[in-house]
Amino acid sequence: MTTSGTDTGPPRPTGTPPTGAPPAGRGGAGPARRRRSARPDRKAWTFLAPFLAVYLFAMILPIGYAVHQSLLKVERSGPLGLGEPSVAFAGLDNYALALEQTAFLESFGRVLLFGAVQVPVMLLLALVLALLLDQVKDRWAGLLRATYFLPYGVPGVIATLLWGFLYVPGISPVTDLLGKLDVQPDFLGYDNVLWSIANIVVWEFTGYNMLVIVAQLKSIPEELYEAARIDGAGPWETALRIKLPLVRPALVLTCVFSIIGTMQLFAEPLVLKRLAPAVTSDYTPNLSAYFDAFGNANVHLAAAKSVLLAAVAMVLSFTFLSLVNRKRRDGR
């Protein structure tokens, strides 16, 4: 193995970096500046209109409605409060109430712990699978890719039902087999059920994340590999020093999606709740909001909890993104 390339850092492509780098010089030439005019013209708005319409209807309006609902409360009157109720402005009462509920706050701790373990495990698995698939010949790659991706096509509820059968003692062949070996796993116990859910989520989403990374791998130009080969890089070096840095944007993307997905954990614990006493009605922030809205018919408190959840997810996503970006800037 030659060392010429390796001890001077990763081989860098001579062209533009793969991710949006700032333009080389400041100020640029006149025509370029005109092209990058800040104000989109009428044609641009026409093209944007369909997107904006759907965005307004499906994103902004519901969020505004949720915020609106979260600032209201029901006022009761009459004997035992069962008289004619009315809706009144509540200010931040619902937020205060939500933040006073320890079970609700604990649910954030739970999903954060869940995310801190599950997201790295899943992404590492997805990355390894993607890198391996990249090495496999095309004929098999397609089949394997489809196989790994298949669980993503199974709805979360169905996946949880399937896994549920594998978790319940007395029904599950897994616990039966392990029982014969004198291991008595309690997949649905208080200390384990969170990781049983994590297992389901990993099973569901690894293939999806793998596919995102595979797509990024495919976009790496062949010349880079040639250059690496000429520099004497073997498969390991190619993977670690070429592929890994170049799939970074895909990893960042999947990581942000996973963080948001983790915060919104809902279907899996809801379905598993019927099998596992350990899954309480405040197990995740989303479950808590759901039971307030529909189990307890308190939409205003549920709206406040949803807004809080959205805020936390947003803060986490942006914190992650800014950390990643700062690191990249520092790295330059």
Partner: protein, 443 residues
């Protein structure tokens, strides 16, 4: 993913909110009941959401009443999704005409104005056909809001053949129950248990303090008072704590596959359950036919007949229907017509709310599944001894969820049942207060 633009919009909406608060917002049901005009001969269609298998009775109604057609739509049972769906439909202003609502959930539906005031449609003259305490479950501030269907007096189902094998007497008191539990565990080599203890079933658990004479909820003036820590409840909690700690009960969640497997295999030599579970036993452990018997609940004082109720539901006419008079007519027929009751009893719907003589009624039959025992005689005694002053708060779904979350944790070895209930008491009060109600703990 939220962007800066979303944030901006959210802030704008937030700022505009106080101004909007007063207009267009309704507490609870979005549409109020109104009787639609009906042309002569016009057929009325009613939609009925339920999880009780009462299709046969409804089919009979449809045959007898071609002008009022009822369509049954099966929804998930109660809090597994049925009530969630009903609340959402009320909020959306698009509810079914009729719905299955359990007694404990009626106050919650009252709180969202989800029930039609039936007094306005002449329900009060039907009162005499029903068992009074069941009728009272649907009465709020002197007006009637639901037609009762059936209740669930508690009893002790046990395997007579296994008790004979092990040379055991059927326990009459809770002390004997504990001794029987020990002997069963010993004589079966640890294979069998006196009963299951579902870790997360607050309704089931509540029936024992109820039997003891506790009152978890009461009212003083306009204040709701929650009491999960009185001496009677603590005594009951202590008893079950010991049973769970000594592993004398099987920690199986009822009506789950492992529970039914326990019934089939004899892992469960008995079950403390409600009358309506006769059908569950029959349907899920058909191989044990003839081996079951029913006895009264074990007692705290020898010779008493104290009992409790678990379950029981009403046929509610939801707020927003356009045919309240026809819906009321159907609900009354469903729950009092003898032909209907016969079909409902066969479907295992519970102890009838209709005022019936047991003798000659569909309940008065020796049952081969119970070895020819007229087991409903036991439940009649139980039904007559239910303390009917037990009340349900308007946050029962949520508060009982807290209670069972806590009980589940205790059963898994984290703390005692007493502590679990004491913790749940605070949450119970919070739930009531979060709804804008006056509430406090009893101590």
């Amino acid at each position: 993913m939220p962007t800066r633009r979303t944030l901006l919009a959210a802030t704008t909406a937030a700022a505009a909110s106080p101004a909007l608060a007063a207009c267009g917002e309704q507490a609870g049901a979005a549409r109020m009941t109104r009787q639609a005009h009906r042309a002569p001969g016009e057929r009325v269609n009613l939609v009925f959401w339920t999880w009780v298998p009462l299709q046969k009775a409804v089919a009979l109604w449809n045959k007898l009443h071609p002008d009022i057609h009822v369509t049954v739509q099966t929804v998930p049972a109660n809090t597994s999704g049925g009530y969630q769906k009903m609340h959402a439909s009320l909020k959306a202003g698009d509810p079914p005409d009729l719905a299955q609502v359990e007694y404990y959930a009626l106050p919650e539906f009252m709180l969202v104005r989800g029930l039609t005031d039936l007094t306005a449609y002449g329900a009060d003259r039907l009162k005499k056909h029903y068992v009074d305490w069941q009728w009272q479950q649907g009465v709020f501030a002197g007006r009637t809001y639901a037609i009762p269907q059936g209740s669930g007096p508690m009893g002790f189902f046990y395997r007579a053949d296994l008790y004979d094998n092990w040379d055991l007497e059927v326990p009459r008191t809770w002390d004997e129950f504990r001794q029987a539990a020990r002997k069963i565990k010993k004589r079966s080599g640890g294979e069998s248990f006196v009963t299951a203890f579902p870790p997360v079933n607050a309704q089931w658990f509540a029936s024992f303090p109820w039997q003891r004479g506790a009152h978890w909820v009461r009212t003083e003036g306009d204040t709701w008072i929650v009491d999960l820590t009185d001496e009677k409840t603590r005594q009951v909690a202590d008893f079950w704590d010991g049973m769970v700690r000594d592993k004398l009960v099987a920690p199986l969640q009822d009506s789950q596959s492992s529970f039914f497997k326990g019934l089939q295999t004899g892992q469960l030599a008995g079950w403390l359950g409600a009358q309506w579970q006769d059908a569950l036993l029959r349907g899920n452990a058909p191989g044990t036919k003839g081996r079951w018997r029913v006895a009264e609940l074990p007692q705290w004082e020898r010779g008493e007949h104290a009992s409790a109720n678990w379950g029981g539901s009403a046929t509610a006419i939801l707020q927003g229907t356009r045919h309240p008079a026809q819906a009321l007519k159907f609900a009354h027929w469903l729950n009092t017509d003898l032909r209907s009751i016969e079909l409902l009893v066969a479907a295992g719907y519970g102890w009838p709310s209709a005022e019936l003589e047991l003798a000659g009624s569909p309940l008065d039959k020796p049952d081969p599944f119970f070895g020819g025992q007229v087991y409903n005689e036991v439940f009649r005694t139980s039904d007559r001894n239910v303390d009917t002053s037990w009340r349900f708060a308007p946050t029962t779904t949520q508060s009982y969820a807290h209670i069972q979350d806590n009980i589940g944790r205790a059963v898994a070895g984290h703390g005692t049942l007493q502590q679990a209930l004491a913790d749940a008491q605070g949450m119970f009060v919070d739930d009531l207060q979060a709804k804008g109600l006056d509430a406090r703990s009893a101590r």
